[in-house]
Symmetry: C2
Subunit: 204 residues, 2 copies
């Protein structure tokens, strides 16, 4: 009986993470079997239990890491803002880190955006809390801009969802070998978000 397989720094464990992330994101958690994951790594299914306690433990490990990287990206972006930043600056900075994450880490993004339901109830709650924490950052910036009259929108909550969601969708179609670089993409989305919230009167 192997000892408690806690989060280990092991080359095999990392190969398992890579294979499982890829397959959970593309095929879905419940369509991916332990034998599928093991096959990608070149071992048998039973050997996975030397590294992770269960299939759900793999998903949770990946989910936690993905959220940590998402939140870390946000924190790094915020930390680089000047002291006298405007709401426009902060919006641009958040949209950039949001879109860049979803373009560069599409598997992690797909996992976080569509496989949470497969988590255990307690892990699911924690994941939803982390997602809410992330979304709140965007909402607060938008609310602040609206309060200062710098942004204008009929419904700030809906605008927040819209901006977050159009960025999340990037993970579904963006390919780094395509015509756009990640930097291009971020610029486009920053423009779109800024225009959505612009206080300009529409003529018609």
């Amino acid at each position: 009986m192997p000892p408690a397989p806690e989060a280990a720094i092991s080359a095999t464990a990392d190969e398992i993470r890579v294979a499982a992330l890829e397959q959970f994101a593309r095929a879905g958690y419940s369509s991916t079997s332990m034998r599928d994951i093991a096959g990608s790594v070149g071992i048998k299914a039973a050997s996975l239990y030397n590294h992770f306690g269960s299939k759900e433990a793999i998903l949770w490990d990946l989910t936690l890491t993905a959220f940590e990287e998402l939140l870390r990206g946000r924190d790094l972006a915020i930390a680089n803002l000047p002291n006298n930043s405007t709401p426009q600056d902060r919006l641009a900075c958040l949209v950039t880190s949001h879109v860049a994450f979803h373009a560069k880490n599409s598997n992690q993004a797909l996992l976080v955006n569509s496989q949470l339901a497969a988590l255990s109830k307690s892990h699911y709650r924690k994941a939803v809390a982390m997602r809410a924490q992330y979304e709140d950052t965007m909402r607060e910036v938008i609310d602040e801009g609206v309060a200062k009259g710098i942004f204008d929108t009929t419904d700030a909550r809906v605008a927040t969802f819209a901006i977050l969601q159009m960025g999340m969708a990037v993970s579904g179609w963006f390919r780094p070998e395509g015509p756009l670089t990640v930097t291009d993409l971020c610029t486009i989305y920053v423009d779109l978000a800024a225009k959505m919230l612009a206080p300009l009167p529409l003529s018609h």
Copy 2:
């Protein structure tokens, strides 16, 4: 004479459709068993095969219906446009039918947006073709507006994705018992889309 015989569609088959749609949309195709579906209807799993040839046949039936309704909504909206409609009119009309569908038919929307991968290869191809056909309608309107100088955007393809995706996300959070009516919602999204494509210079 008795009533039209072909009008007598099996009530049980429709109950199966309702139950399967709900569960495929919420839990996912591969997490839903035939016994789950049968249980919701109040019959045994084997009896489902009196109405559908296979589990995938149920998914395909639901997918086809959902796409037909999505495309029919688009066609009805277009048919109601005046003859001298502008690109702004057409954009507003498409966004309205898009958002209204995703708000009113969230289960169908979730199915179409996240369960296509569970279809057989040939059904998947047909589904992707229908989705492309739908998306093209939006892209053409945007391209036309850009060509006429009425819309302005850095990348029309990305703007199309963004507008479509922010509307799709509605199926994930909108609740009819919430503070917004579907009409409110459509108005908000039409405004957001119009602003995203507005050719106005941003002041800052």
